[in-house]
């Protein structure tokens, strides 16, 4: 007896195990759809299965008081203490992109949400400027590239980035949020500059001040701005010998300006109006940051640190050994110390007088997981998904209304009357399923063309055509479901109503319909699901892009120019959501209606 009990328990556990396994297997693809829709397409295309972390590169290093402060791309602001430890001052992950400047002993950090001021002694933080007028859609895409102070004015460079490619492409409708913004002493916005004011581009990579003018590194070259008038007074472009497409970094020593872009560094003598390229060996890849002093130019590239000796016009390569192999993002020179911030969040101090030995090295936290909620925004920008969603919802709803009207009446008639021809009628309703839809589509398509030729009434590409076809097509199935609902309603009430003098129509309208309401709603939902999923007719009868339904529209994500699995999955999730919600709302009646037809029938 006891072993029997044990066997029962074991059996139960085994079955439970397999049931949970089956459930996980079933739900996994759905989970994977939602999961993938939050990943970046680059990760998908290189085969990363999980989320990668965002870069947390050190984007700015600033000195305030006697301490070095730095800000990271992912919203971390730290301070290097005198005992060579790092103290976190401020850590807000949504503040993307950091740049800093000193102001009256405080530090101003410019980031994607505005400009914050931090007191280095008390660590008190205050949001001085809030970009509150940025449309919510672009909230995630705004980056502050640089903040610089000249003559008591503050200049902030802003750019909207496309998150996927990190290219500096403008979003449509986002004009006025990019470019150079000017603030006065008390951080009031007093103006802004963009290409209309002769800037080379609205994108700003770096800015430095030589005390008199503001030098702006941009795609296309360098612009020189006079802060007194806020006018661009000079530009250095390809014509002046800057042979790279964009300038990424600027360093100013006295009257000499060093600018860098791609794998080249140029020296600009503003007074002599002369540009000379430094002789760099071709081994240096992408240069992200440079700083200079009177003897050397220190180059931070994506594969390490180089020192260029201005006297001998050559690179001192011995300072680039294997463990100095960083992807450098930012640099700062402070007396004998050269501070370096790298792509993976390491802060390094090199000692110039001590043969560039590493004097300090610390790593900050990793970046946040790169969960791309903005895929759900990009999806609407990339294709006109809104139009397709609207088309789908409208077509499906109208179809449901029409075919419900037809099928409730027919279903009621079949359940209450045994009229001559009722057998033929119900048989033909059932057997319509046996005919391939394509057989109807061919003549319907040719018929619509002919109708247009003869009368000029267009059915192809219009709601009218597709709704007309859908309404009739889904009627047989819904009559079949609805009939069983009406059969399950007791006929006594109706007979009583008839005796009281109610008309046939009155009985149907006032008594049968309200009683069958759950069934009718369930059938309506079923019709909606079927219409939502219809593809063959839609492909042929809705050929123009403005009449596409969702499945036709989603196809545009994979085309000649793009292969966006992330957006396909986001759009698929959005397309699944309405039917999922509808299904949950009426689940009980729905299952009842489906099973009543089949099991008892």
């Amino acid at each position: 007896m006891k072993s029997n009990k044990v066997r029962k328990v074991v059996k139960r556990v085994v079955i439970d195990f397999f049931m949970v396994g089956a459930l996980i297997t079933t739900l996994f693809p759905i989970f994977w759809m939602v999961f993938t829709s939050l990943k970046s397409n680059n990760d998908i295309l290189v085969g990363h299965m999980g989320f990668t972390r965002k870069a947390n590169s050190i984007s700015t290093i600033v000195k305030a008081g006697d301490k070095i402060h730095f800000g990271s791309e992912d919203g971390f602001i730290g301070q290097v203490n005198s005992d060579n430890t790092i103290k976190s001052i401020f850590d807000v992950r949504k503040y993307r992109g950091m740049s800093a400047v000193q102001k009256d002993g405080n530090i101003l950090f410019s980031h994607s949400y505005g400009v914050s001021s931090i007191d280095p002694f008390t660590d008190k933080q205050k949001l001085l400027v809030d970009y509150e007028n940025v449309p919510w859609k672009y909230r995630h895409n705004i980056r502050s590239t640089k903040i610089v102070s000249v003559n008591g004015k503050f200049y902030v460079g802003k750019v909207l980035v496309k998150t996927e490619s990190e290219e500096e492409t403008s979003y449509k409708g986002a004009e006025g949020f990019e470019g150079l913004q000017v603030f006065n002493e008390s951080m009031r916005a007093i103006g802004s500059l963009d290409t209309a004011d002769n800037l080379l581009s609205t994108t700003i990579y770096d800015m430095q001040s030589d005390g008199q003018y503001l030098w702006i590194a941009q795609p296309g070259g360098v612009s020189v701005l006079d802060p007194a008038t806020d006018k661009v007074i000079a530009q250095y472009t390809e014509e002046d010998g800057l042979t790279v497409e964009s300038i990424k970094s600027i360093s100013i020593v006295g009257k000499l300006v060093y600018v860098a872009g791609l794998n080249k560094v140029f020296k600009i003598d503003f007074e002599a109006d002369k540009v000379t390229a430094l002789l760099l060996p071709p081994v240096i890849p992408q240069i992200n940051a440079i700083v200079a002093d009177s003897e050397n130019v220190f180059i931070g590239s994506s594969n390490g640190f180089y020192v260029f000796d201005l006297k001998n016009d050559q690179i001192l390569t011995k300072y680039r050994d294997q463990d100095v192999y960083w992807n450098i993002r930012s640099m700062r020179i402070d007396g004998n110390d050269i501070w370096i911030g790298t792509d993976n969040g390491t802060v390094i101090k090199l000692d110039k007088s001590d043969d560039y030995q590493v004097g300090f090295r610390a790593q900050i936290r990793t970046g946040a997981y790169d969960i791309r909620w903005e895929n759900y925004l990009d999806m609407w920008e990339n294709i006109s998904f809104g139009t397709y969603l609207k088309n789908s919802i409208l077509i499906c709803s109208i179809t449901v209304l029409f075919s419900l009207a037809l099928s409730t009446m027919a279903g009621y008639a079949l359940s209450r009357f045994r009229f001559p021809g009722s057998v033929l009628f119900s048989t033909s309703i059932l057997s319509v399923n046996m005919i391939p839809m394509l057989l109807f589509l061919i003549p319907v398509y040719l018929m619509f063309i002919k109708i247009y030729d003869v009368t000029g009434i267009q059915f192809i590409g219009t709601y009218a055509g597709i709704v007309f076809v859908y309404s009739t097509f889904f009627v047989p199935m819904s009559i079949w479901i609805l009939r069983s609902f009406f059969v399950s309603i007791p006929i006594d009430i109706e007979e009583a109503a008839r005796i009281d003098g109610c008309s046939r129509w009155g009985v149907f309208w006032r008594i049968a319909l309200p009683l069958a309401a759950p069934g009718i709603i369930a059938t309506g939902i079923y019709l909606f699901l079927v219409a939502w999923d219809e593809l063959m007719f839609a492909t042929i009868l809705l050929p123009q892009e403005n009449s596409f339904t969702i499945p036709l529209g989603i196809k545009l994500f994979i085309g000649n120019h793009q292969n966006r699995f992330d957006l396909i999955m986001a759009a698929s999730t959005v397309a699944t959501l309405p039917v999922l919600i509808l299904f949950f709302l009426v689940q009980k009646w729905f299952i009842k209606g489906l099973t009543a037809g089949a099991v008892k029938g």
């Binding site: 079955i15 049931m19 009446m409 057997s431 009739t472 196809k555 999955m569 099973t595």
Partner: protein, 314 residues
């Protein structure tokens, strides 16, 4: 009962005719008229040149039927119609019985008394609510050779295979379309079978237990025979829906533009391409008519097999 004249019966039930009149008109316009036209079109040489002529296109008699059935080099056959027919055959059989098999197993699991059975039932149905075109897109992504999760699980996680196979090229394609269809389709069968299971009186099992029947015997002699009306209907639906399956394959391969390949093409997608991409409307209609006749034959055979057990209310 005395025979009542037809006229009286029609008059007595006149309201029924009012009720079915709109449906009747609609079905006449969109079902009956096109069907007659389609059958007629299958005898016409309707293609891109004669499309403007509509029903006045040149009459070619049984040309299309001959081409489809007996001429392997004809224009409609060379685009892979026979391969599509073979695939559709395998696909329909495997999917129909696969969905019933999986549905039955889960229905048996859910037909026990335990806490949270309603939650489990709801969650199991979820994959059926996912639209078919989403299923096609989603599994297309999951089957990708290098970035797909299926190969990742098979090779990197479990190590079942040493090398990542191609799923969307070659004979594997047939499985790549069968498995998503089963995944999408089985919950419907599960709902039906579960309802059928719950209709079987508990007393039958109690009696069998007293007689000492094992679980397997109980299933063999009680559950399976008593479920026959349900699975017979499910076979009926499965055959029809799967022979006419279109959406998943259409969305999975080249998003409609591409050819799913020798092993991924189904009859519906093949005829659809022949009709609307190659403008062979007449031949397409003929293929559909042949398919329709075939399906009606199958349904009649089905009816003959199950007619004793099933009394579909007419």
């Amino acid at each position: 009962m005395a025979t009542v004249s037809l006229k009286t019966r029609v008059y007595k039930n006149r309201h029924a005719y009012y009720f079915i009149l709109p449906t009747l008109l609609g079905m006449l316009l969109i079902h009956f008229v096109p069907m007659v036209q389609a059958v007629y079109m299958s005898f016409l040489g309707l293609n891109q040149n004669t499309i403007g002529l509509y029903l006045a296109a040149p009459f070619v008699g049984f040309e299309h039927y001959k081409d489809i059935l007996f001429n392997p080099d004809s224009l409609i056959r060379i685009s892979g119609l026979s391969e599509a027919a073979r695939n559709t055959f395998i696909y329909t059989i495997v999917v129909t019985f696969g969905t019933i098999f999986v549905g039955l197993i889960v229905a048996l699991m859910l037909n026990r008394k335990f806490k949270g059975v309603a939650v489990f039932r709801t969650l199991f149905i979820l994959s059926w609510v996912v639209p078919q075109y989403v299923t096609g897109l989603l599994w297309n992504f999951m089957w990708q050779r290098d970035v797909g999760i299926v190969n990742y699980i098979l090779v990197n996680v479990t190590g079942l295979l040493n090398e990542k196979p191609f799923w969307l090229i070659g004979p594997n394609t047939l499985w790549a379309i069968i498995i998503p269809t089963i995944w999408r389709g089985w919950p419907f069968n599960m709902i039906m079978l579960l309802a059928g299971l719950q209709n079987i009186p508990e007393t039958y099992y109690d009696a069998a237990k007293i007689d000492g029947a094992s679980t397997l015997q109980q299933f063999r002699y009680i559950t399976w025979p008593l479920l026959k009306p349900v699975w017979a209907i499910l076979i009926f639906f499965g055959l029809i829906f799967n022979v006419y399956s279109f959406n998943i394959v259409y969305m999975m391969f080249g998003l409609g533009a591409g050819y799913p390949g020798e092993w991924g093409d189904l009859l519906m997608t093949n005829i659809f391409r022949a009709t609307f991409s190659a403008w062979r409307y007449g031949a397409g209609a003929a293929a559909c008519v042949i398919l329709m006749i075939l399906m009606i034959t199958i349904v009649l055979i089905w009816d003959r097999i199950f007619q004793d057990e099933i009394t579909v209310q007419k």
